[in-house]
Symmetry: C2
Subunit: 187 residues, 2 copies
Amino acid sequence: MARKKQYNEAEVLEKAMFLFWSNGYETTSTRMLEKEMGINQFSIYASFGNKEGLFVECVKLYKQKIKSITDILEESKNPITGIKQYFYDFIEFSGKNEIPKGCLITNTINEFGTAKETVITNDAISFTQHIRSLFYNNLKLDVTKDIETLNKQADYLIVAIASLAVSSKIFPKELVNTYIEHTFINI
Amino acid sequence: MARKKQYNEAEVLEKAMFLFWSNGYETTSTRMLEKEMGINQFSIYASFGNKEGLFVECVKLYKQKIKSITDILEESKNPITGIKQYFYDFIEFSGKNEIPKGCLITNTINEFGTAKETVITNDAISFTQHIRSLFYNNLKLDVTKDIETLNKQADYLIVAIASLAVSSKIFPKELVNTYIEHTFINI
DNA sequence: CCCATAACTAAGCAACTGATTAGTTATAAA
DNA sequence: TTTATAACTAATCAGTTGCTTAGTTATGGG
């Protein structure tokens, strides 16, 4: 009946995701997206509605990508070392093959702030809570810990990783490694 | 000979600083600055050259403001607790009487990234190094520590505070406190 | 009082933003 | 082949950005 799409939505979405991840939401203009995705603005709006809609899809894709790392954590039977591995894997993931970009989720929370409540930030915050629960469950593998300790340590670790996610892009790798090693001394 | 300035440069600069601190560099438009500073754009450009020039002056003012906290750290004869106090004072300072704004310096490094080298980021990074040296000197008050330990701990603490400076604005106060308490368990 | 001079106001500049439009082209069912 | 329809292109929308300019107003030494 009609013409076929000349582009693959999944492909162009991935390109958009990397652009948002590198530059943040506001800094990434629709013209930059056009160029990077290799399609006309009209096509972007036809496929994703608007800039925010495109970004929401990018965050979904990001979560999928990071799932391989969280899966390892979820399946780990090794308390603490599982979380430590997550820290290292995450840092590796955040700067793969290029300049560290931090974490798309925490970058976003940081860019918008918590005051400005949007679909984007609410989604991002709930993802952070999800990671915290994975930490909690991993820590619980050590049956000698009471609930209060588990909560305190989970709180500590989620602040540590969320903070590091943002700051890892501005510090050299050795410094980040020193930080991670020290973080797990007393857990 | 000529007309007198109708505004006080120090006063309007302080207002600009709070605006940049709350919103970041890019998000703060010259129209917002006009409104907040209560003067015409022409006057802003007459006094500070351009937007970047104004921002540089704001960062200078910020450093002056934060000096009262770093002074306490510098004068402290108490290893570790002096630094811990700095953490708490800094968090207090970053969210005084209002929504936490983080740290103007680390916010800036974060917004611009390290790749984009400007007067602003270089200045900000050297300030971070300055704080690290204050940490180092405080840790050194404990004469039993060797140089390697001092460096590792100073590295750990500078990443911790720089990270926390950014993330403190997105986490509730109790969580931040939990993080700080845990940070100093093994120092 | 006069007037050179600097401080002011408001309008405007080109470049960019997210988003839309009118017009053209390719596709596949009839 | 015809034709309805969706996918495409490029121009354009109004609004905003950092910054400048032309024109007006206040000041204080002569």
